[in-house]
C-alpha cells in the first residue's frame, strides 16, 4: 500500500444517504480477476445511461448529465462528500478498490458502514467522520460556483478549506500509523521478517521435510 501523503484536492459532493456497495460497484463487475480497473465503473448505474458490463470501453457510453462525477469540474476530484451510512450493504472489497481506482483518497460523511470503513483503511482510502452540521456546511460550499478544495493533513488530523477554515478530525491511532507508513497487514507482518526467518531456521532443523 502507498503511504498516505498530505494533499490538496477537489471535493465532489454526492448528496445521498445510504450509498451501498452495490451502487458503488455493481455485482457484474465482481467477475473480474483483477483488483484494479474498477474506476471507470464506479457508480456505474448512476453515472451511465446504459447497462455496464465488465470489460466495456466506457469512453463513449452515454452519461447521465445529472450525476456529479460527470461534471468536468469534478472529474479529478480526490475527496468525496456524502451523507450518512456510506458504504452499507455487501462486504465487497471491490467498493474501496473502485473508489481509489477513480482517484478518491478521502471520503467525508457523517457515518460509514462498518465493513466498508475497515476495508477502506486496508486500501489506502481515508474515511473521515464529521459532524452532520459540518457536513451540511461543506455541502453548501462544495455546490457553489467554484468547486471547494481542501488540504488534508493526516498527521495533524486537520482539513483546511480554501477559505482558510480549519476542521480537525478523529482517526484511530493504529489506522493512522498504517496509512502514514503505507502499511497494510502484509506490510506489518513483513516488519517481523526476522522473527519469521528465525522460526523457519529452527523448523528447518527440526522438521526438514516441510521445506521442499
Amino acid at each position: 500500500m502507498e503511504a498516505f501523503k498530505n494533499f490538496t484536492g477537489v471535493v465532489a459532493p454526492l448528496d445521498r444517504a445510504n450509498i451501498d456497495t452495490d451502487a458503488i460497484i455493481p455485482k457484474q463487475f465482481l467477475k473480474s480477476i483483477q483488483r484494479t480497473g474498477f474506476g471507470p465503473f464506479l457508480f456505474d448505474e448512476w453515472r451511465y445511461m446504459d447497462h455496464g458490463e465488465p470489460g466495456m470501453d466506457c469512453t463513449n457510453r452515454p452519461r447521465n448529465p445529472e450525476f456529479v462525477l460527470n461534471d468536468p469540474r469534478f472529474a479529478q476530484a480526490q475527496i468525496l462528500l456524502a451523507r450518512e451510512n456510506f458504504g452499507c450493504g455487501s462486504s465487497r472489497e471491490h467498493a474501496p478498490w473502485a473508489l481509489t481506482d477513480f482517484g478518491f483518497r478521502v471520503i467525508l460523511a457523517p457515518s460509514f458502514a462498518d465493513i466498508f470503513f475497515n476495508n477502506s483503511f486496508k486500501n489506502g482510502l481515508l474515511p473521515i467522520v464529521l459532524d452532520a452540521k459540518v457536513i451540511d456546511a461543506l455541502f453548501a460550499k462544495a455546490t457553489g460556483e467554484t468547486p471547494l478544495s481542501i488540504s488534508v493533513d493526516l498527521s495533524a488530523q486537520t482539513l483546511t478549506l480554501d477559505d482558510g477554515t480549519c476542521i480537525s478530525f478523529e482517526v484511530d491511532a493504529g489506522s493512522k500509523h498504517r496509512l502514514l507508513e503505507g502499511l497494510d497487514d502484509i506490510g506489518l507482518t513483513l516488519q517481523e521478517v526476522d522473527l519469521i526467518r528465525a522460526y523457519e531456521e529452527r523448523r528447518r532443523a527440526e522438521t526438514p521435510w516441510l521445506f521442499i
Binding site: 500500500m1 467477475k31 480477476i33 483483477q34 483488483r35 484494479t36 472489497e93 486496508k122 497494510d184 497487514d185 502484509i186 507482518t189 513483513l190 517481523e192 522473527l195 519469521i196 522460526y199 523457519e200 523448523r203 522438521t207 526438514p208 521435510w209 516441510l210 521442499i212
Partner: protein, 467 residues
Amino acid sequence: MVAKTLYDKLWDEHVVRVDDNGTALLYIDRQLIHEVTSPQAFEGLRLAGRTPWRTSANLAVPDHNVPTTDRAAGISDPVSRIQVEALGTNCLTFGITELGMGDKRQGVVHVIGPEQGFTLPGSTVVCGDSHTATHGAFGALAFGIGTSEVEHALATQTLIQRKSKSMLISVDGKLGTGVTAKDIVLAIIGKIGTAGGTGYVIEFGGEAIRELTMEGRMTVCNMAIEAGARAGLIGVDDKTVEYMRGRPLAPQGELFERAAAHWLTLSSDEGAQFDAVIHMDAADIKPQVTWGTSPEMVLPIDGKVPSPEDADDEVKANGIRRALDYMGLEAGTPLTEVRPDKIFIGSCTNSRIEDLRAAALIAKGRKVAESIKLAMVVPGSGLVKEQAEAEGLDKIFVEAGFEWREPGCSMCLAMNADRLESGERCASTSNRNFEGRQGQGGRTHLVSPAMAAAAAVTGHFVDVREL
C-alpha cells in the same frame, strides 16, 4: 507435562509470535491455489511489487471452471476461460508449480494435495477454499481463507490468527456394513447442526474413525466445515504414514523415516482437555440422505420427509416449509419414494478411488434406471481416473449407463457446463445442498457414493444394504 490435544500441538508448533491479546502470527507450511480465489491475490502482489515468500510452499491447480468433457476443445465460456488462463499466467510469473488442465495429475484441489504428498501430517495447510478442512485427515491444521489472506500467505508465509476452541467428536464402536464415512459425517451434522462447530476445531476420534481408510477420513474432515468448524482433524496413525510413503512430494528414504517418527506423535494425549466432547455410537448410523437445503436437513434412508409441525419453534418450522417448497417435496413422503433425475458421483468429498470402487460395486451388472436423465462419474483427479481405468471401473460404469468424465469440481457447484436445470433433482456425493448450488433451481440430495449408485440403478433412493 500438560496433556495436549492434537490441535494444541499443531498450533504450538506453528506460532511465530503471539500478542498479549491472543492474536498470533501462524506459520503456513503449505498453500494450495485454484483459479477462482487467487487472481486478486496475485494482482495484489504485483501491485505492491512483492514476490511469494517461498514458492515451493505453493501448489496450484485449476478445478472449478474446467470442463469434464473433451479437454481438447478448451473452455467455451470466456469468463471461465480467462480465470483458468490467469492462473496459468500467474503461476508462470511467480514461479509456482501448476498442474494445468493438460496434466494428468490435475484434479480437485483437495484431492491432489494429499495425492501428491503436498499435504503432510503436522503441517499447516491453507487454500482460498472452505473445504480445505479435508487435509485435517492427515493430522494437518488445514483451513480455508479469503483472497486477502491468500495474498498474505503468499507474501509472508504466515497468517494472523486467533486460536479456536477444541471439540472432540468420538464415533465409538463399529460401523455396520454398507455404512460409510459420508454417512458418519452427515449423521454428525444432523446431530450437532450446521452451526454446531462454530468457533471450534473438531477432532474426530473413536474406533469407527480409526477404522476408516485415509479416503474415508478425508470425506469426514471435508465436511467439518459444513458443521461450522474452522477445521477438522484426525490423529496420525500407521495408516496415515503408509498413505504418505512414496508420494512424489513427500520426504523419501531416511528423511521419511525421521518424519514418520515425528508424525506418529501427532495425536491428542491421554487426558487432554477439550472444550466440548460428543460421543456417537457407530452402530446407530444408517445410510443417510439429505432432504432439504442445508446439510443438517438429513435423515436415515428409512426416514420420512419431515413436516413443519414436527419443529420445536416457528423459525425451524419456517425453515422446513421453505425447504419443502424449494425441494418440491411433501411432508411425510418416505425418502425411498423420492426419485432423482440426475446422479453426480464426484467432488472433493467423494471422488477418490475408494469412492469409485464403492459406487462401481453397486453399478456392476446393473443398469441406470430409465427415468434417470444423466448419471455421471467425475473422478477427483487424472490419477484417480487412471487407477480406476486400470481396475476396469470405467467399463463397469459405462456398461451400466453412467458417463465417465474428466476430473474437476464439475456439478458440485456448477461453475463449468455441468449443472442441474431448474426443478431437477440430483443424488449427489458432494457436500452442499444449498439452493441453486448445482444450478439455479436445482434440488440436491447429499448421499454416499454407494447410495448414489443405488439410486441410479433403481431410479429412487434406496437402502444400499438391501441391494
